[in-house]
């Protein structure tokens, strides 16, 4: 136990200090995000992620959002296990036809207003894989998409920016 505490103390607080140039951006985005999450979603935004044929790169960066540098949860955004609890669906990959139906079912299981965010070039426009016998080519070909976050894969910072854009969308 002592060794663990010692290591925690040595590690210190890693959540992006404002001094770093990219950190300033993160902090600013974070505060903005928090405000919008508070206003629109009653202080918490639950995201269900679905990999619809990704190469796994987008997931690595989505995972990174949870590390202490970005600590997405501090903004009231968290990933949830069931689509029934989700405010937003975060979809990656060119929608492989083998995932097409599972994606549609996940989307149907969500409560309205069913925000959909397509993350990564594949999800936005098919990316390297495009449309073929095996993939639909873009998320919007299968379910309606509200926001696109391009990048191969988008960096964690670009993902945060994209989430911000998602919340800024006028859905009234």
């Amino acid at each position: 136990m002592f060794r663990i505490l010692n290591q925690i103390v040595r590690t210190g607080l890693r959540t992006e200090p404002v001094a770093r140039p990219d950190a300033a951006g993160l902090e600013r985005l974070g505060i903005e995000l928090r405000r919008r999450v508070d206003a629109r979603f009653g202080h918490s935004l639950a995201i269900r992620q679905v990999d619809a044929g990704s190469c796994g790169g987008c997931e690595i960066e989505i995972h990174a959002l949870a590390n202490a540098y970005y600590d997405l949860e501090r903004f009231g955004i968290r990933f949830c296990a069931s689509p029934r609890h989700a405010d937003a669906l975060l979809v990656t990959g060119p929608v492989s036809r083998h995932m097409e139906q599972a994606l549609r079912r996940t989307w149907r299981a969500m409560p309205a207003p069913k925000f959909v965010i397509a993350a990564g070039d594949c999800a936005c426009d098919g990316g390297e894989f495009g449309e073929s016998y095996a993939s639909c080519g873009a998320v919007e070909r299968v379910i309606p998409v509200d926001v696109r976050i391009p990048g191969c894969p988008p960096t964690p910072l670009q993902l945060v920016e994209g989430l911000l854009a998602a919340l800024a969308q006028d859905r009234d």
């Binding site: 995972h63 990933f79 036809r97 083998h98």
Partner: protein, 529 residues
């Protein structure tokens, strides 16, 4: 040192008059290549099994509308043999290797689904694997007459009637999981048959992220192929891109500058460190040890930021090109990278000290998910899955390719218990080994060019083989008359490591599945293709 050489023996047996195998010169990058009549394909497996060889994969290639070439790769401790045959007919038939080499089960069914080869004597008959419902059983996407766009524009239904093998009996329950899982993970379906908490049987059903990578490769130029290879599985982007580059460069006889080779190895070792860190954290997380997870995630993030600043991409995607690498290190980089290594080592010393000896963690990881060495061998596992079960095999050590043939390598990492804890320890030790290699590479970085031009050679074939962070990664490339890609098959180590999970989970409890799965960490994308 063995007095006999199993590869030479096998070659001798196969080229005997009754069998009539002949040496084929067509595939660059593998020391022995034999062509044999289709009738002896089954005998090939028997002789290879007798010789104690490992089956390192099997794939098919449509030479034209009629003829299919099937190739099988066999590995001895220090070398490889590629065997090939040609089949025609409707359907083309060939003896299955699965009864003797259970690890090639899915590879044969993949070849069946994409090219239409029927493997006679396959224990699962003609049950599909990669194919779900996106194309009918009678169509084969990798045949030349099948259009990339397919001929099936409507909605694709779910693959509802896939025949899962079931156990029945008093008290046996079935637990279906996936394809959409609770966390941020790739999709796959797992069907457990359980008695109480104990797993009696597990069947994996993958193929959900099949996006036609092999079909997309057809007609590409070398640079386009490597860009695609970088996306076979993002966590192994360097491994697959390097294997594809090697295959192309060997096929086209391109001499890669020494500096480029060193930089590639640097990238590969950085990929290994990043993923091992991620997995160690993931294993901790799956048994509720959040401290381990958050520490590893921090270290990985720092590592990836260094990737971005020195190599231009956090995950190292698109850092390799045919003939070399994309960008050179700037002059200040080696010093900064070595300094970052030192910092990582210091943190890891304290962190690993805790992970090695933390009773609640040990309690969950020791004796959990044991993979017996015999099973690992029978399946043909490689990488940390094999190493943790006492199998001493690592291409960098035993079949070294440039630049590893010029480096001082410590003995390869091997553990013997075969449990989750051993698979974690292999990763911990490999991180240290990779840090050492990175320092060696930086200290001895040759001067000179970072890429050489690659001139495509019509109708050439090559095989690439590298030790990725997950294990042995293979790439087969065949070029057409115009020097464009006619066939690309990336063989991820996960083809052999995924089935190990079905075995090592038996007798464990369902709540230990996540940690067992993480300790194997098979790639979905790498096998679904």
């Amino acid at each position: 040192m063995n007095v006999t050489d199993p590869l030479a023996d096998l070659q001798g047996l196969l080229t005997a008059p009754g069998i009539g195998a002949t040496a084929c010169a067509g595939v660059a990058g593998v020391e022995s290549c034999l062509a044999l009549p289709a009738a002896h394909w089954g005998l090939l497996a028997e002789l290879a099994a007798d010789a104690g060889l490992r089956h390192a994969g099997l794939w098919a290639d449509a030479l034209d509308e009629e003829r299919l070439r099937v190739q099988a790769l066999f590995a001895a401790a220090d070398g490889y043999l590629l065997a090939q045959t040609e089949v025609t007919g409707a359907p083309p038939e060939l003896a299955s290797h699965t009864p003797l080499f259970p690890g090639v089960d899915r590879l044969e069914r993949h070849a069946q689904d994409l090219l239409g080869v029927r493997f006679l004597g396959h224990p699962r008959g003609a049950v599909r694997w990669t194919r779900h419902q996106a194309w009918p059983e009678t169509a084969h996407p990798l045949r030349p007459d099948f259009p990339l766009a397919g001929d099936h524009p409507g909605r694709t239904p779910a693959d509802g009637d896939y025949p899962i093998v079931r156990l029945q009996g008093n008290g046996v329950c079935e637990v279906p999981v996936g394809p959409v899982h609770a966390g941020v993970i790739a999709p796959g379906h797992f069907r457990f048959q359980v008695m109480g908490e104990d797993v009696l049987r597990l069947e994996e059903r993958l193929g959900y992220v099949h996006k036609g990578i092999e079909k997309h490769a057809v007609g590409r130029d070398a640079a386009g192929l490597v860009r695609l290879a970088a996306r076979v599985a993002a966590d192994s982007t360097v491994a697959h891109a390097w294997a594809a580059c090697q295959a192309l460069e060997r096929a086209c006889d391109t001499e890669v500058p020494a500096r480029a080779l060193y930089l590639r190895a640097l990238l590969a070792e950085r990929e290994r460190v990043a993923n091992h860190l991620g997995d160690i954290g993931g294993i901790c997380n799956d048994v509720g040890f959040g401290f381990g997870q958050s520490q590893c995630a921090l270290l990985r993030e720092r590592w990836q930021r260094d990737n971005a600043s020195h190599f231009g991409h956090r995950l190292l995607m698109d850092t390799l090109v045919p003939g070399g690498v994309v960008r050179d290190l700037d002059p200040a980089a080696p010093e900064r990278l070595i300094q970052a290594n030192g910092e990582l080592r210091r943190v890891l010393r304290r962190l690993f000290d805790i992970l090695d000896d933390h009773p609640p963690l040990n309690d969950r990881l020791l004796t959990t998910g044991i993979l017996a060495q015999g099973t690992a061998r029978a399946l043909g596992c490689t990488g940390y899955v094999a190493k943790a079960s006492g199998i001493d095999h690592d291409l960098r050590h035993h079949v070294p390719y440039a630049p590893y043939d010029r480096l001082r390598l410590e003995t390869a990492v091997v553990e013997h218990e075969g449990d989750v804890a051993a698979r974690m320890r292999v990763r911990m030790r490999e991180i240290h080994a990779s840090l050492g290699l990175i320092e060696q590479l930086l200290a001895a970085l040759p001067e000179g060019a970072i890429a050489a031009p690659l001139t495509p050679r019509p109708e050439a074939s090559g095989l690439g083989l590298v030790e990725g962070w997950r294990g042995e990664s293979v790439a087969l490339v065949r070029l057409d008359v115009a020097g464009r890609v006619a066939r690309y098959f990336p063989r991820d180590p996960s083809w052999f490591n995924w089935p190990a999970l079905e075995h090592l989970i038996l007798g464990n409890i369902v709540p230990d599945f996540p940690v067992c799965n993480k300790s194997v960490n098979g790639s979905y994308s790498g096998v679904d293709l």
